[in-house]
Amino acid sequence: MNWVGRAIERFEDPALLRGEGRFTADVAIGARVVRFLRSPVAAGRITRLAPPPEMPAGALFVTAADMPEVGAIRPMLHRFSYRAVEQPVLPRDRVHFVGQPVAAIVAASAELAEDLVELATLEIADETAVADFDDALAPGAPTVHAVAPGNVVVEGFVRQEGVDAALAGAHHVETFAFRSRRQNATPLEGRGGCAGYDRATGRVRLTASTQMPHMLRTGIAELLGMPEADLQVVAPDVGGGFGQKMSLFPEYAVLVWLARRHRRDFAWIEDRNENLIASAHSRDQRHVVRAAFDAAGRILALEADILANVGAFSCYPTTCAVEPLMAFAEYPGPYKVPLYGARARGVLTHTCPMAPYRGVSRPVITFGMERLMDRAAAALGLDAAEIRRRNLVDNFPYRTATGMTLDDATYVEAMEEAVRLADIPAFRARQAAARAEGRLLGLGLSVFNERTGYGTPAFAARSMGIVPGYEVVDIAMTPQGEVEARIGASPHGQGTRTTLAQVIADRLGLAPDQVRIVHGDTDRTPYGWGTFASRNAVISGGACQAAADKLAERLKRAAAVVLQTTAEQVMLRDGHAVGPHDASIAISALAQQVHQRSDLFGEYNLAESASYDPPGTFSNACHLAVVEVDAETGGVAILRYLVVEDAGRILNPMIADGQVRGGIAQGIANALYEEIVHAPDGNILTGTLADYIPPTSAEIPAIEIHHLETISEATATGAKGLGEGGSIGAPAAVANAISDALAHLGVDIAEIPATPPRIRALIRAAEAKARA
């Protein structure tokens, strides 16, 4: 029986449903409470920093002056254009964004610690802040960091020969300039850590809400100049991350420093305001994208000018280049683009640093390409599906203009299926009838590919100083015959303990509940990277499969001794090792014998290790949204949302669909609701969940999901990965649908989120123009 492909229930759920999960804040109870005094201004020089006049016994006030030996966060990118910006753990003299931690305050309770934060003195001589890239790039703008004059921290430039000629001689050139506003990934559990000191060993155990425990350990050990072996990082249950929890944050370094210095336990659990203003932001970008088309509507060349506001520092380990350079490398998406030119710049500002957020730049570039396609279709008199049909890659493998190889996929088929399911002619009739009644309906498509499961080569091509990619799995069988698999990656809600158990169970002829996946503890797992970039099913899955296969070989060799046959003749199925003539031994009995009667076998353990480091693959999808726009209020309701997606072999359909739905909800939020808003001085106006408004069930529609299954040769399990696709495709689909609903007014969405005030402003402007 195959377990892969079945929607089995998750092993993670019972504890979570009983309230018995273990999150960082649960571990933190009883530790001394750390709160951070944060900068109230975006830019300035610290002129006075002092503890409260009266400090209760046991309270601590820690500033940069207390930790002279601690280094700065300085992720590297080996590119000529990259300026290596340094982020101090706590600043000595200057602050660079609102919310930057300036001092740590420790007390016996959260209430007390917060009182002390209020009573501490922080005086800052304000300096002019630049919050937006226009301000930061203006001539004479204040410089955020001296190492990056002009505030450009990283730049990419490519222009293939022929781009200019293609644009000059094209039948039609379509240009689309747009803005993607700043987002916060907003995991429901914020960041937090608890650093416990073990006096017996002198080691520190940092429990943290992180996606990358091994990386966090490496980063902190380096910053503090401590032996990495003296630090254990544990990621317990993690309440969502979506990229935000990949980075090394200064607060974690302070916790470990405190634990070592004071030989006690210290915990910091951030509040929602800290998360919204001072964790990490994303997708603050502006692009101008231009395509040359021939008379048949085929793209001849594409050029893009990409600006990304990366905030005040560079995130560790990915660096702040991850947004601008991903847009730079992946703009053409699933389309045949023979010639390509792009310029991408990461711009430093006095704002919270950028970090990856589900999809990173792909929601933005997909928005750009898909809106561009619709606009070009209108100009060329084609319908939205037809122009895509003429341009989607349909012949694989396909080498893109930026040097990537697209493996087998279903770009055209997924779109055709979505279009068929939506019955577009019938929709157009409904749309016309509705318009006659004064109701505005629109339909939007979004076709994209999602680079997933990429290993070391893809990351190395980005010239990152730290090159992630591989995953290692250590697998062992207990004398009772259960399997323990220790993985380097670390999930945050993806159900990894379940899906990977399915993969392993199939290879060993066991049931998934006989497999324990161990993760999120640097003491118990091999060095590895984490759960991000839609990689876990592919890379940890591939490593689990390889490790299980090696363990299967050991079991077969042992069984051959018992069954007096050869290993090649043994099969593992239904919990048994089966030889010729149905002679068999239970795997549990075999495991016990190998461990306890090694004299019979010549080998004495059932442990293996394997790694996997694939080149990467591309999953793909077509999203289709039907919306109704209320012209009076500017409000948008999503009437229908359907997805046709192809992520290769699906390990657990229930979990895969959950990833798609959750991603789309975040993508709809990106399209319509969520925005971090700055005042011109760099202060944040959206510091609560009542201002930064994640959607509720009233805003997110039911989502219809249809699967295609292209089994990729590029991955060991055939799975392609789909964690980010939902959030990549949705903003474009929704924006195209709104633009379709308002097309008769000449309204076109070029800024997300398309909030009611923005839509109203567009409608008002269009009406004014019509009157003039």
């Binding site: 449903l17 995991p187 429901l188 249950d237 969502g240 959750g662 509720t696």
Partner: protein, 169 residues
């Protein structure tokens, strides 16, 4: 800060706790009662992760003070399963319908749904959607949460078909 003694029950068990007046009900449950199943997602009344039942009504425990719980009967997620850990119908439905991913919002949704399923009126689609929109989940996109609660209501014979509900109104 002056301290106060509060007496109440949690999941049927009598408790007496001494705390500061400014301590929230959520912190009292988590830190003074050791019931960490109740989660804090915002501490300002928006996300609903901290929802518990106080005298049968759903309450955001981050917005109520512990001292206000004097004499109250409080129910939390820890009280839902049988003492041996067996999941109840609602919990099982969340598992079957994949109504949780990271599980951080789950305590709030479970307590909200517990209230929905125990009211005098039967639950219908409109009431379900209205109530569920009061909490935030960042992982699931909500559809599976609605599915789970609907399925539990059906299994408990607490579900009203919309058409029937409409006719009754």
């Amino acid at each position: 800060m002056s301290r106060h003694v509060v007496s109440f029950t949690v999941n049927g068990v009598p408790k007496r706790v001494e705390l500061e007046a400014r301590r929230t009900l959520a912190d009292m449950l988590r830190e003074d009662c050791g019931l960490t199943g109740t989660h804090l997602g915002c501490e300002h009344g928006v996300c609903g992760a901290c929802t518990v039942l106080v005298d049968g009504e759903p309450v955001r425990s981050c917005l109520m003070f512990g001292v206000q719980a004097e004499g109250c009967a409080i129910r939390t997620i820890e009280g839902l399963a049988a003492p041996d850990g067996t999941l109840n119908v609602l919990q099982r439905a969340f598992r079957t319908h994949h109504g949780l991913q990271c599980g951080f919002c789950t305590p709030g949704f479970l307590m909200l749904a517990t209230w929905l399923l125990e009211r005098d009126e039967r639950l219908d689609e409109a009431a379900l959607r209205h109530a569920v929109s009061s909490n935030l989940c960042r992982c699931t996109g909500y559809q599976t949460i609605l599915d789970a609660i609907r399925a539990a209501a059906q299994e408990l014979d607490r579900w009203e078909d919309s058409a029937a509900g409409e006719a009754r109104r």
